[in-house]
């Protein structure tokens, strides 16, 4: 399936969307740009520590509500710039959790459970301060009535625990992840760290996988231990080389420090950011056209060294 078709088919205005990756690594950026290009609006977005993808979707005007643990992008943006602007201006409603809590919320969705317990959040304002107010929650059947709840351990002091936080499952309408490898039926292999991508995919009603390489099914099945997602979880597989650019894809390419620094500078100024969107996203017809705008010497520099999986010695200032 082509990316524009997959996005127009599964990502709708107002849908609940989850994207994979973690800050500067393996964000499904091609899909993010296509969502912006298609001018989707009113998205309810979920992520744990997705940095670049979340910030671009917010900057693209696609997101109304965000549930997240961390909106930074490493050294390139200690706090994501468009995220910060949107929250401070009141354009974006945010509900904060911790990284473990968000990962467990996706895990609960993946497991078909309404919640999972966790021992973090007690006494934190994560428990006390709710982004979505109780009345708004009750009127929206796609948001749980409670942000979370704290219970006494029903097993006494078993496991040396007196109180626990229960965090509600996330069941996105659609999750999008970027992998190194898949077959055409949708069996997925991620190399390096998988973050929470697999749980995000399993929790969702629909799953779009973009990938660097499509290989023959038989090849993936020689080492079933290395595959993380079976084909029956996946709705669309899109072959998309450089699909995580400008974030990294372990074994294929590094993040592009030049792009990420430029992006931060554009993002800090509303007019520059509008020009950025216009030039790189709205005026490119697809990801290949977007990639062709990047200076070749920069793309060459981020090619991964096969021994390390990243661009050894890359100037990252």
């Amino acid at each position: 399936m082509s990316l524009d078709h997959a996005i127009s088919r599964f990502v709708h205005d107002g849908c609940h969307l989850s994207i994979g990756g973690f800050t500067v690594n393996r964000n499904p950026m091609a899909a993010v740009y296509e969502i912006i290009r298609q001018k989707k609006r009113g998205i309810h977005l979920y992520a744990h520590s997705n940095g670049q993808g979340v910030d671009e979707l917010i900057g693209g005007g696609c997101v109304d509500r965000l549930e997240i643990a961390y909106a930074g992008n490493g050294r390139f943006a200690p706090t994501c710039v468009r995220f910060r602007k949107a929250v401070e201006s009141g354009e974006l409603v945010v509900e904060d959790y911790s990284n473990f809590q968000m990962s467990l919320r996706f895990t609960a969705g993946a497991m078909g459970l309404p919640f999972l317990p966790v021992k973090s959040g007690i006494e934190s304002d994560i428990a006390n301060q709710w982004g979505f107010k109780p009345a708004a929650r009750r009127s929206d059947e796609k948001i749980p009535d409670l942000k979370l709840c704290i219970i006494d351990n029903p097993f006494g002091r078993w496991a040396d625990t007196t109180r626990l936080v229960l965090v509600p499952a996330i069941e996105p309408d659609v999750s999008i992840i970027h992998a190194q490898t898949a077959d055409s039926s949708g069996t997925v292999r991620i190399d390096g760290l998988a973050f929470t991508d697999i749980e995000q995919a399993k929790a969702a009603r629909h799953v779009i996988v973009t990938c660097e390489t499509i290989v023959d099914t038989r090849q993936l099945r020689k080492q079933p231990e290395r595959n993380q997602l079976p084909f029956f979880c996946v709705d669309a597989v899109v072959h998309l080389p450089m699909g995580a650019y400008p974030t990294a894809c372990y074994g294929h390419y590094d993040y592009d420090p030049g792009y990420l620094n430029d992006y931060r500078n554009y993002a800090q100024n509303d007019e520059h950011h509008r020009n950025y969107l216009d030039r790189y996203i709205f005026k490119t017809k697809d990801h290949a056209a977007f990639i062709s705008l990047q200076p070749l010497h920069r793309l060459n520099k981020i090619k991964a060294d096969p021994d390390t999986g990243y661009a050894t010695g890359l100037n990252r200032l």
Binding site: S49, G74, S98, S120, E123, D125, L193, F195, A304, Y310
Partner: protein, 257 residues
């Protein structure tokens, strides 16, 4: 005495808090560098651990983020985020973990804010949020806190408590149901603070070379006990050499020398 920057001093001081056998939970930036420094200098048997699931990462180059592909190379294993946090929540492994955290605000009991300044629903300044900080501070045996020493950061009352420290002191932390661990040291660009064993209030452990006690107190929004103050040893030349040449030769995190 060797020339050094305050950032170098902070990194070296933090690295001294790490011992062989510690599993060091690292965030982005200076905490990662402190863990790398400890491993290269004083605690070769410490284990660098990222919430992203990379365990005992070898770190040939300094990562720019905890998801950097550089944390993946040569690790003992790659887990998921949930697996990584579960290692800290599990008391068998969590009791070996030392967390290193930064924050925008810190109070007398080492409670931390990394979420907002102002009202949560309508903030004056928005920060990235907890990430794994609330989890780490809730689970592990002890945490090392990095802060710039400024009045607006050392506040009597947090705008938002992201990560629980000693809460209201004494036994309030365990009474609330949190782990027995908690913040053990706060390392700033001017001084080092620790926490009283009984009251769990922060006290001044020592000032950096050439920093006066008064300068420290002037930069804090609350009073601390100063009776236990002792000098903080500056970095040794060999510590600096390893930090600069082995850990961050590009000075990505150390910044300008």
């Amino acid at each position: 005495m060797a020339d050094f920057t305050l950032r170098e001093m902070m990194t070296v001081v933090a690295s001294r808090e790490i011992h062989d056998g510690d599993i060091v939970f690292c965030g982005t930036g200076i905490s990662m560098l402190a863990a790398m420094a400890a491993k290269h200098i004083s605690a070769p048997e410490s284990i660098i651990f990222f919430e992203t699931g990379a365990i005992d990462a070898q770190l040939e180059e300094v990562p720019m983020a905890v998801s950097d592909s550089r944390v993946m190379l040569g690790a003992a294993m790659h887990g998921s985020l949930s697996e990584a946090f579960a290692f800290m929540q599990n008391p068998n492994t969590g009791s070996k973990v030392v967390g290193i955290l930064g924050a925008a605000q810190c109070d007398l009991y080492g409670n931390l804010n990394s979420t907002v300044i102002g009202d949560y629903a309508n903030p004056d300044i928005r920060f990235p949020g907890s990430g794994g900080a609330c989890d780490v501070s809730s689970f592990v045996r002890r945490t090392i806190v990095f802060m710039q020493l400024e009045k607006r950061r050392f506040v009597p009352r947090l705008d938002y408590m992201t990560s629980p420290g000693w809460l209201k002191g004494y036994t309030s932390r365990t009474a609330a149901g949190l782990s027995q661990g908690g913040p053990s040291v706060v390392i700033t660009d001017k001084a080092v603070f620790r926490f009283d064993e009984i009251t769990r209030k922060m006290y001044l452990d020592g000032c950096f070379p050439d920093v006066s006690r008064q300068e420290v107190l002037d930069n804090m929004g609350f009073k601390v006990d100063v009776t236990r103050e002792k000098p903080v040893a500056p970095p040794h030349a060999c510590e600096l050499e390893i930090l600069r040449s082995r850990c961050d030769p590009q000075r990505l995190i150390l910044g300008p020398s």
